[in-house]
């Protein structure tokens, strides 16, 4: 799952759970049936888990583009300055 997919999965999970909770409570209250509320909510939770937990292709539409190794070699990382070097060596010698 790529970065955008992770964000999408989290938002989708929150929306689905909240909506199923509100719908379950409303329907249960109107029908006067506590059991119906629990069944609808359980269905919502299972649906949410099926949609957001597995790594669906839907969540992999923005893959990270890494540089080719040859391209990376042509732009070397700037070297860390060596001012800290002597101090470390001194402490090791002691």
């Amino acid at each position: 799952m790529d970065w955008q997919g992770q964000k999408r999965a989290e938002i989708l999970m929150q929306i689905l759970l909240l909506v199923s909770g509100i719908a379950a409570f409303a329907i249960g209250y109107i029908m006067g049936s506590f059991q119906m509320m629990l069944l609808i909510y359980a269905g919502g939770v299972v649906l949410t888990a099926l949609v957001t937990v597995p790594n669906w292709p839907f969540f992999n539409r923005h893959p990270l583009k890494w540089l080719e190794p040859s391209e990376a070699d042509r732009h070397p990382k700037p070297q860390v300055s060596t001012t800290a070097g002597p101090k470390k060596k001194a402490s090791k010698n002691k």
Binding site: F25, G32, F34, Y41, N55
Partner: protein, 167 residues
């Protein structure tokens, strides 16, 4: 949200949190219900009335109980526990409560009932104060919800009197 386990954990955590909120709301919704229960108890007969060997008065009654408690039931009610207590005052105790009969009402369909019974639990006084005693019969109930807060209330029925003599 980077792994299967992490996402599964997030779904379960939020789901249980929302479930807790739904249960709280279900409990709060019980406050919108304004019950209007009715009850009537008749003492049909004093079967016997005696002084025990240890000096305590004991009475056996035949009761006719009719009640309509269906308005106590809401969508969040699991069952209702009812009991009838004889309540009276003696020189030692400002309030004596003796449970005579109880029952569990499992659903709204059974909440309107009529029962003819002798006292299920014995009515024994702490001492010998029952001759000619005026007493109340009180129908107490405890509403047991599926989730949340329990409610309890009572109906007091006055004007009962025990005979002056043992029989």
């Amino acid at each position: 949200m980077h792994s299967f386990g992490y996402r599964a954990n997030a779904v379960v955590t939020l789901a249980v949190t929302i479930l807790a909120v739904m249960c709280s709301m279900a409990s709060l919704s019980d406050n919108f219900n304004v019950p209007s229960p009715t009850a009537e108890v008749k003492v049909l007969n004093i079967n016997w009335f005696q002084k025990q060997a240890n000096g305590n008065d004991e009475v056996s009654l035949t009761l006719n109980i009719s009640a309509d408690l269906s308005s106590l039931f809401t969508w969040n009610t699991k069952q209702v526990f009812v009991f009838i207590a004889a309540e009276y005052e003696t020189p030692q105790n400002a309030l004596n409560q003796v449970s005579l009969w109880d029952g569990i009402i499992p659903s709204k369909d059974h909440a309107k009932f009529w029962i003819h019974t002798t006292n299920k639990y014995r009515l024994i006084d702490q001492g010998s104060n029952l001759r000619g005693k005026e007493f109340n019969l009180t129908l107490h109930w405890h509403v047991m919800p599926k989730t949340g807060k329990m409610f309890a209330d009572k109906i007091v029925m006055t004007g009962y009197r025990l005979p002056e003599e043992y029989r």
